[in-house]
Each structure stands twice: as C-alpha cells, then as structure tokens.
C-alpha cells in the first residue's frame, strides 16, 4: 500500500511517500507564496524520485501552515499531530518533541501512542525561529549551513538578549562593528534562541525523553546549544528531521487506510 504526507510549511514544502511502513522517497524544497503550487511541485518531486504516479497513492494527508490550500489531499491534519507522530514512530520512548521551523517553534507533549497531550507555540513577538537564524546569517554574511559550525568553535560567546528580530539584527551589526568575532556572535545567537525555545518547552513541563524536528534541528550549533541550555541530551532521530511533519502525515495516512481496510 502506497501513501503520502505533504507538509507545506511557512518556508519549505516537504513530501514523504511510504510503502508499508518504509520510506520510499522524500523531498524538501523552498515553498513559494502559493501553497497549492508548492504542494504540487513537492509531491511531483517525491513521486518522480520513487518512479510513481499520483494515482498510485492510496491516501494522502496534508499538513503544515499551508495545509488548507492543498486540494489534492484526502485529509488535512495539524502539524502538531504529525510531528508528534513521526518522532514517536522513530523512537517510541519520545515524550516531548520540539519542532523549530521557519516561522514557528512548538513544544509538543505526546503519550506512549504518539497522541498529543499538550502543546504550545512560541509567543509571536519573540524570535525563536528558523527565519530569525536566516536573517542573522545574512547579517553576518555567513551561509546558513555554516552558522551552526561557526558557533561550535566559539571560545567566548557574546551575550545577546534582544527579543525582537529587528533589534537583534542591529545589535548583530553593531557587534560586528565593534570587532566581535563571527563565531562568538553566532554562538551568542544560538544560545539566545536556545534559551527562548527552552522557556517554551518548560512552560508546558519538560520531559527528559525529548526529540527535535524541523529544519532547525539540522543546525548542529542550535542542537548543542539547546542541549546545553536544557541540561539534557536530545535524542538523535534517524533521517532528516526536516521531513518529520510530512513523515507524520504519511504515517497517519497509513493508519487511516488500515482503519478503512479493517
């Protein structure tokens, strides 16, 4: 049985195709301003990779910020549920998932079945998201992928406590002008953001079996900064954490099919 999940986030679109509990193909791509179009493109990419046609899919679930605009799916589900599902499937002991995407950061508590118990989004005015890091990478003129590495070599992280992206950007510029080293600023930024994400997680009650998903989980600097701030080891889940929303959607699609069969 072939099913798929399609996650159109605020920054990227993701798709995963599952065949009887195995990932057949996956795709990630920057989304454009039309979720419908992004969804189509990413689905086509994943299908092409697997050598399949859309009609081969038995069930498709859409999720993410743009989920309501995807017309070809059978069902839409909140990304909260999808991220919870995927993380728990990848490692059944997971009880808390922190998803940091482009626009939102979320902390999700799940039970042993992967069902959501409680969750919380970041306060809108605080900058604890992937987009924040992108803007800062631009201000520092460092490729986003390198920002995390830069942070890990810092000897002397600067302290950055500005809550607001706009303020923080000017702050970064003035730190540069004052001759602070890029790794130290990068590390300061990661810590500041890690602190904000930690506060989010703590506000609904931290669980030690914690995993991270979303594109920002690929940022090594961020990953370790968060571990340091939480004082906990974060589980390393198998595969690309950025596709977990889509993966969760595909898993739920499989469940839905199983239900209709039985």
């Amino acid at each position: 049985m072939l099913v798929a999940g399609c996650d159109v986030g605020s920054l990227t679109a993701k798709a995963v195709i599952l065949s009887d509990g195995k990932i057949l193909s996956q795709a990630v791509r920057r989304a454009n301003s039309r979720p419908e179009e992004s969804a189509k493109e990413i689905m086509d990419l994943a299908l092409a990779d697997a050598g399949l046609a859309f009609s081969d899919l038995a069930y498709v679930i859409g999720t993410g910020y743009g989920r309501r605009q995807i017309s070809f799916v059978n069902e839409v589900v909140s990304e909260i549920v999808c991220h919870g599902k995927a993380a728990q499937w990848l490692n059944p002991s997971v009880r808390m998932v922190i998803d940091v995407g482009g626009q939102d950061a979320k902390a999700i508590l799940v039970d042993e079945n992967g069902s959501v118990v409680r969750y919380v989004y970041n306060d809108k005015c605080a900058s604890g998201t992937g987009r924040f890091l992108e803007i800062m990478a631009e201000a520092l003129e460092v490729p986003l992928g390198e920002l995390g590495e830069q942070a890990t070599i810092s000897q002397n992280p600067v302290s950055i406590s500005n809550q607001c992206t706009v303020f923080a950007e000017t702050e970064v510029v003035s730190l540069l002008n004052n001759g602070k080293a890029i790794p130290d600023i990068a590390s300061g930024l990661m810590r500041a953001m890690a602190h904000r994400i930690a506060a989010l997680a703590k506000s609904i009650g931290l669980e030690p079996e914690i995993a991270m998903s979303g594109g920002v989980a690929k940022n090594q600097g961020m990953f370790s900064a968060l571990e340091e701030v939480l004082g906990l080891k974060i589980m390393r889940l198998e595969g690309d954490p950025q596709i977990n929303g889509a993966l969760g959607a595909a898993l739920l699609a499989e469940e839905a099919m199983r239900k209709t069969v039985s």
Partner: protein
C-alpha cells in the same frame, strides 16, 4: 573611593553583602522605591533594592511571565532562578507598576519549582496610588502589617526607637545625596554622571550607615576638587529604571555630562525626608505615600513637571533625555508630556525606548544620543 562605589554598583552580591552575611545577619530584597527601607533596617535586616544586572537571558523568567512584559522584572526572576539571589533571606513585593507587581506569582511559582534558591520570607505589600486621609489610613495599617510580618518571621521586635534610629540614618543619607546633587549642579562638575549613578545606586544595596560614612568622605573630596568638568552640555536623565552605570557612560560618551536625574533608583529615592517627630511608623507611611514623583501616582503629572523644572533650573540643565523601557507605558506616555512641556520652555528633549539588560542596543542608543548631542551643539 569612587572605585568602591562602582564596584558595589556593578556586582549584584557586593562585598558589603558578603560581609553582612558572614557576620550572620540577614538580607531582605525589595522591589521598588515605594518600600520603606527604614522598616527593614529597623528590624536589623539589610534592605536590598532588587536589580536585574548581569542577566544574559530570560529563559527561566519566560516560562512564567508572558511576552509583552518589561524586561526588568524578568531579569530579576532570571537571576533568582539561576541562584544569584541566594544571599536573600526574604523579599518584599509591591504593586509599583504592573510589570513589577506581576513578578509576585511568577516568583512564587519559580520558588516552588527550583528548590532552595529562593528566600523563605515573601510578602506582598500594598501601596495605594493616591494620597488622601483614608488612603493614608489604609497604608498605615498595611505598614503595620509589614512590621508584624517581619517581626514574626525574623523573630525580632521592632521598637519605636528602632524606627526612629532608622529614620535618622536614612534621612542623613538623603541629605548627603542632596549635597552630591548640589556639587553636580555647580559650574565645575566634579563627578561624571556615570560615577554619580554608581554612588546613588549603592545607597540601596549596602548598609546605610557604612554608606553614609563613605559618601561623606567622598563629598569632602569632591568639594575640594578643582579639576572638574566644564564646557560640556549638561544633561538630565529621566524615565524608567536605570541601575546600569554603563548606560549612563554610553550616553556621556557622546560628549555630554549627566548632572541630574529624576529616576527612581536616583534622585526620586532621596528627595523627601521622613518627619522626625510624631509616631515614627505613621511618619514613614506618610513620606512614602506623599511621594508623587513616580507616574504610578496617577493624576500628579503637574507636580512631577514642577519637580522636573526645578531640577532643570537647579542643575542648569541644557537638555533632557527621556527614556523608557519597552512595555513601560507609564513612563513612555508621560515622557511625551514632558517633551511637549519642556520643549515649549526651550529645553531640548530626546525620547528613546530601550530594553532593560546588558547594553544590548548599544549601537542604536549611541546613534541617537550622538545625533542629539550634535543638534545641541549647532
């Protein structure tokens, strides 16, 4: 000697606190200039004005506080959560302003959840927002409750003599600080605004008799000083809380000199004396409730404007810097009224909004002050 003050102002747990604790005595923190330090002192305790310096994030505070809250109480809670306030034996919280009063429940929840870092004594002390005969009556009763709670918890009776003694010491401190202001008001300014701020802040965080002695020495030295600063633009600093001398230093780096302030860590804390005769407790309550220099006393803007004008005149101020911490609507809005009224009198004003905390916005603030100073000089 100035070094001594600036050391005290820059470190949260300064050497006087450590000495005090080593002597086996206790420290009680208080949140705002509307808490009568005299009473804490009369109980044989060291009153410590709560500060947020040195906090480098607000991650602990943000699990309790929501967004859109002033960063000053957040930094305080953060420090407490990190164990940096472990020298406290108690804390007195108060409805100074809304951000300040909301630390109450956040503090208690944080205390429940992080064993041992928070002091055992906790009291919420109400202060009305207006002065009338009935509000004073209410406040006297509230102040009596404060006395009783301290007595009960710390096991020491506060006698009228204790109170009278404390009143004397604090009044003396206030008089000395007023003399410092007079020296700063002279043509030849013997002390930078940053250093003066350090001296003033120290008053709230060290034993007052030791403080008075130190200050007296300093005043003697300053009054003999001949190499003061002249020719600089003379500034008055107003608005939200400032207990960060680096911020004052940053402002002065643009060429001006801060010669006066109307801040609550600053001159507002020492302008009114407590009457020395009559029932000491009532006298203390009257001093604090009559104090209208914080915008928390609504409806008294005109009196505050008068005070501001008086400071401007006395210290021969050329320009006023009106700043507010983000989310402080009281100072923020009132700053606009000051701007309107002072500029009408020909006194240039600079209005800025800032965050509380380690000079995170150094660049932004510097740019504005620079431009302002330039406009003053042309």
């Amino acid at each position: 000697m100035l070094n001594e003050f600036s050391e005290v102002a820059k470190t949260l747990s300064n050497r006087f606190i450590q000495q005090w604790k080593d002597d086996g005595k206790q420290v009680v923190g208080f949140m705002c200039s509307y808490v009568p330090e005299e009473i804490i002192c009369a109980a044989g305790l060291l009153p410590f004005r709560m500060r947020g310096i040195g906090a480098s994030s607000t991650s602990i505070a943000d699990t309790y506080f929501g967004p859109v809250i002033c960063s000053f109480p957040k930094c305080i809670l953060q420090l407490a959560g990190e164990g940096k306030y472990d020298f406290l034996d108690g804390i007195i919280l108060i409805p100074g302003c809304d951000s300040i009063r909301r630390i109450d429940e956040c503090w208690r929840k944080a205390a429940e959840e992080s064993h041992g870092k928070f002091p055992p004594f906790h009291l919420y002390y109400g202060v009305p927002h207006k002065l009338t005969d009935y509000s004073l009556e209410w406040f006297v009763a509230e102040t009596r409750k404060l006395v009783e709670s301290l007595e009960r918890h710390f096991g020491r009776k506060i006698t009228p003599e204790d109170l009278t003694h404390a009143i004397k010491i604090y009044n003396q401190g206030r008089i000395l600080l007023t003399r410092l202001d007079e020296l700063r008001a002279g043509e030849n300014v013997p002390i930078s605004g940053a250093d003066a701020t350090a001296v003033i802040i120290s008053a709230g965080v060290m034993p007052r008799d030791a403080y008075n002695r130190l200050l007296e020495e300093l005043l003697q030295k300053l009054s003999r000083s001949t190499n003061g600063m002249t020719g600089k633009k003379r500034l008055l600093l107003a608005g939200s809380i400032i207990d960060d001398i680096d911020l004052v230093r940053l402002i002065e780096a643009s060429g001006g000199i801060v010669v006066a302030d109307t801040l609550c860590f600053g001159s507002r804390s020492y302008v009114d004396l407590v009457e020395e005769d009559g029932d000491p407790l009532v006298a203390i309550a009257r001093r604090y409730l009559s104090h209208k220099l914080c915008p928390r006393m609504f409806g008294s803007y005109k009196e505050r404007l008068e005070f501001m004008k008086q400071r401007v005149r006395q210290a021969r101020v050329d320009a006023v810097i009106l700043q507010n911490i983000r989310f402080c609507d009281m100072h923020g809005s009132e700053n606009s009224l000051y701007e309107r009224d002072l500029e009408a009198m020909g006194i240039p004003c600079l209005k800025i909004e800032r965050e509380y905390g380690p000079l995170v916005e150094e660049g932004r603030i510097k740019m504005r002050v620079d431009a302002f100073m330039e406009s003053l000089n042309t």
